[in-house]
Symmetry: C2
Subunit: 453 residues, 2 copies
């Protein structure tokens, strides 16, 4: 009976706490939906800096932009954290396909980190395969000196498109070394794309040092369909020219960090971040300008509301997520060497779309600590806490310091239409969707800062 009474009192207490939390979450959302500056910040980043691959002059410009934006948001302290990053340069490139009588120039993009043809032209017959298995079954004689077309389709039947990406991305990442092992001269892939268009998608690839480093280019879906048909009927050839190369020396670059010092336990840190670098196409709006401006928005909203969290909250614009994670590693290295106590890190790197969930990459007990607030997020369209997802940039925090990670999970339908393409521009981001994502991250940070993990 006593126990029951205590339970009832505890429940009432909890309901009361939740009512307060619910109100505070509403205030945060109102502030961001009505007065948020993240959309305007994204416009400035996209239109005055544009794309910004690690090590490039544009990336340096983005660091300057980030520092200014973080100060304008009202962070107590803003600083740069050094990270030496690789610098991959595209240079000039072209792909001509002879699918009928004549060569025709097609849209194509070399894959990131790949070596080109040294500016020379590689001309060879194309051999199409649909999988590694199919490729491995070919005799070496069929492959030698050829350009292999890895025609693997992004599976559109997965509702959660990151599943389709996970399924397909090995063809982008590993095809050149798989092909070179049997003597191929170059690789063409169908882009990792859900698009009904012809945008080629770039993205990271990797060479196995045991084999020749042959060039790799990606086609958009429409050209890939045409090439597929041409390969079914005959033997098309390609002329591949690319100057792309990895520069020999790393470049000094920076993470941009802004922080609000905690009111009660400033030694406890909550990190919220996105990545500042992008591929060298489009404007890097969805990947990941969105995550950067949302992280800055958390700082701005807390300051505008006069809310000083108990824990220190840090917004971090990480450098070099796309091809090295050097920024993420530098941040974790620094945290470790300074014996910082990190309570939670949350990343937004799945696009500025309408939020649907929060991925949780942490032990079950900590998950339960967050799941008790689950219903409070329903009003903001967030219902899915089932995925084990943090983010690449915050990954080293977990690896080195066992920090619990969370990842904002927006609607995934449009992401792989845009990802790593010339079409990833400011115009593809909706102001309300972007702001809602920022609000949800700010709400989670509020809850964890007030109540602990």
């Amino acid at each position: 009976m006593k126990l029951r009474l205590l339970t009832i009192i505890a429940c009432i207490g909890m309901q009361h706490a939740y009512a307060q939390d619910s109100l505070q979450m509403r205030k945060i959302a109102d502030e961001i939906l009505l007065h948020g500056t993240c959309y305007e910040n994204l416009r400035v980043l996209c239109k005055t800096v544009g794309h910004r691959i690690s090590g490039s002059p544009e990336a340096a410009k983005a660091v300057t932009w980030g520092e200014k934006a973080m100060k304008e948001a009202g962070a107590d302290k803003v600083w740069l954290q050094a990270a030496d990053v690789p610098y991959w340069c595209r240079g000039k490139e072209s792909l001509y396909l002879k699918m009928g009588k004549d060569y025709k120039k097609v849209r194509a993009l070399s894959l990131g980190n790949s070596q080109g043809t040294g500016g020379k032209t590689l001309e060879a017959a194309i051999v199409m395969v649909h999988s590694f298995d199919e490729f491995n079954a070919l005799p070496d004689s069929k492959v030698k000196g050829k350009i292999i077309f890895f025609d693997y389709r992004f599976r559109q039947d997965f509702v959660f498109t990151f599943q389709g990406y996970g399924d397909a991305v090995k063809y982008r990442w590993a095809s050149p070394s798989v092909a070179a092992k049997k003597g191929a001269a170059g690789v063409i892939i169908r882009s990792m794309s859900t698009g009904k268009d012809d945008f080629p998608h770039t993205g990271g690839m990797h060479y196995n040092d045991s084999f020749a480093k042959i060039p790799e280019m990606a086609l958009g879906n429409i050209t890939a369909d045409q090439l597929e048909q041409a390969c079914e009927k005959g033997t098309p050839t390609a002329k591949m020219t690319s100057e792309c190369r990895m520069m020999s020396k790393p470049v000094r670059s920076y993470n941009v960090i802004g922080e609000i010092r905690g009111s009660e336990t400033p030694g406890k840190i909550i990190t919220v971040g996105g990545h500042l670098d992008s591929w060298d196409v489009g404007e890097g709006a969805t990947d990941d300008g969105a995550g950067c401006v949302q992280s800055i928005e958390v700082i701005r909203a807390f300051k505008a509301l006069g809310f000083r969290p108990k824990c220190t909250v840090r917004a971090v614009l990480f450098m070099n997520e796309e091809n090295g994670d050097k920024g993420g590693e530098a941040y974790a290295d620094s945290a470790k060497s300074k014996h910082e106590q990190h309570v939670l890190a949350i990343e937004s790197d799945a696009g500025g779309f309408s939020p649907r969930g929060i991925g949780l990459e942490m032990p079950e007990a900590q998950k339960q600590n967050i799941l008790k607030y689950k219903n409070l997020f329903l009003d903001y369209g967030v219902y899915d806490f089932s995925r084990e997802e943090g983010g690449t940039d915050i990954g080293p925090l977990k690896k080195q310091l066992n920090v619990p990670l969370a990842g904002l999970m927006p609607d995934s339908q449009r992401y792989f239409d845009l990802h790593h393409t010339d079409n990833d521009t400011f115009e593809q981001v909706n102001h309300r969707e972007l702001k809602l994502g920022a609000a949800v991250m700010a709400q989670l940070i509020y809850l964890v800062s007030e109540h602990g993990m």
Copy 2:
């Protein structure tokens, strides 16, 4: 004990049934995500017909398109159902604002059903108010002969944007009669818009016959902001010219209906629909080309899967949702006069965005019949069954025959950026989001057809 055993058996039976249902739902989604033609259908509707206001030649062209598309989808039977609809014509229109020294032409749209200025130019000083209360507090002398600017902002703090629309739309609908009652000469409104842009939004308005029928025009948010500032500083004037008018006679038009005859209970009918008419701007892609092609997709997918539902399934492209609902009434009238038994009607008229929920407008017991499948929809991003929403076109079915209604509830963030604007084009619709919405409607229809309501 016996009862318990029976319960267990019943539960196992139910789990088994759910497993079957889950598999069938997956098949439906796969078919639509991989082979759906709704996106291509939408392209043809938008690019070859374009916008299609009731009574217009374009609406007639859309009927022909719909009939063809429904046949291509494989419907057992396709027919047209007559409905006499109003025909509102925009004609030429212009709005000049003098906010500083000189008149400047601005983007504006007359509101649907409104009377223009008969092609003459109405020039008058502008009086700004922010609400009906503020307007009603003004003395008549301040209003007489003036153009009233109802500067009410769409509330961006509502997460579900239809709530903001419901809050604001009275200013579009009723302002002219409210203003005319006190002798105003014309009305300008801030559009019912979440947009960060200058697209004016048209949409239905209504005259109270007791007062003068004065013209009404809408401004996009950017021009409305400029006019607001000008009104705060001084007294801007406007020159309003518009030929718009309601034609004196109704025009014969049609609903387009395609049906799959039920295998076991063909007398029981499930209706799925969207509306074929649009406003006379943009391409009517989101409102409501999307709902039309999704409804056709349900038929196509069932036929392609070789699935013959127990009940008859009818896809209906309703005419005249925007300014009369004559198509919806004709459909219900016919159902009533033929003593048809309608089990469920579901409408998609909230955009072709990623689905999040299904609105249920039906008695509690019937709701429970659908809610038992709730978890089966989670894999498709559908979790919200809490809203009491059907759709305008299917409304008369409920009114006349007490038919339970459902409404597809997609993500609402982008809808009121596009609604009734020149920007409501095919390009604003994402192929995967559109298909997912169609899949969810087909899944619901499958469940209700197999298991009843």
